[in-house]
Amino acid sequence: MQACADGTGGRHLPIEAYRLEVVSFRCGGFRMAVETRQVHRLLGSQELLSAAALTPIEALLGLPAAGEGVPPEGAAGERSRCQLQIGASEFGVEVTGPAELASIPAASIFGLPALVTAGCSLEGLQAIALDEAGPILIVDLLATLEARGIEPASSGSGPCRELPGASQPEP
């Protein structure tokens, strides 16, 4: 049985004892997820974030645009907005919706094979989870935003869902 460090003094529990809390969404026909600790809020479609300040997820991750090998069902569809928070700065990202909270068993999460690490140009790809429906690509959106030097969006005050365990602003 595999074991996993729990981060509280080196004690190990079986990997089955862990789960990863994520916000999941579809993008370019693929299932993707980002850790909830990176997502400050999930915004409804009426949220006041300026559309101009939003970064489409496809552009952020380097996925091809619709018509360039992206399945039509992945390119279209409802859009959701995630508001990410790094320190006191907030970033807006528009994803192919719906964005939902999900919990992935740690035993189904895998590190990337060496060839994927070397050859996959999907920005921020950290790990892959496999379930009965196929792969879920777990991406690090914050690192990708930071690496691209994307400016924070101006946050609005409309209806939102604040996520439990999301990173809090630094004092």
Binding site: F30, P113, L115, V116, A118, G119, C120, L122, L130, P135
Partner: protein, 171 residues
């Protein structure tokens, strides 16, 4: 044009011109023999961990064409490469007899898609001939030698070199 001759004469000629003597007590080598269309190839057996039949393979976006996808092999996520384009061969659909070899070298571990696995051979090292001059440059780069098997020249490929070149090309 051949000349008819009595058996005694033929045997006398045969005795005077013995064929190549193979030292069957010398070092031997295991080969996993497979085909790609009509091309017969082999990897050295110690580089092949196992042979898989039908295994679900998951496509990943933003990966080079050589990388077919990833698969779960008893709890480990493995990459899967297509050997055909690497050797300059055309694309083929994965048929029912298609197999996946799990190759491992010090540099890399990955699945390798082949059309068919024909045999696992244990042959005297002395039967491996030097590569002929008349092979393509792309094939020559990966060719260790040639073995005759069932009337076919089997191209013994250097998996270490293949994996090293793959990684170098992707980085």
């Amino acid at each position: 044009m051949s000349e008819s001759a009595p058996l005694e004469r033929i045997l006398a000629v045969r005795q005077a011109q013995p064929g190549q003597v193979i030292d069957v007590d010398g070092p031997r080598i295991k080969l996993v023999v497979f085909t790609l269309d009509d091309l017969w190839c082999a990897f050295v057996g110690e580089k092949i961990r196992e042979v898989l039949a039908e295994t679900p393979v998951f496509f990943l976006p933003c990966c080079p064409a050589l990388l077919e996808g990833v698969m779960n092999v008893r709890g480990t996520l493995e990459s899967l490469i297509r050997l055909r384009p690497l050797l300059g061969l055309g694309e083929a659909l994965a048929g029912k007899r298609s197999r996946i070899l799990i190759g491992q070298t010090p540099a890399l571990r990955s699945g390798i898609r082949v059309d068919r696995v024909e045999e696992v051979l244990d042959v005297p090292l002395a039967t491996v001939h030097a590569p002929p001059a008349a092979v393509s440059d792309r094939m020559k780069a990966f060719l260790l030698g040639i073995v005759d098997f069932r009337g076919h020249p089997v191209h013994v490929l250097d998996l270490d070199r293949i994996f090293e070149d793959l990684l170098a090309g992707l980085r």
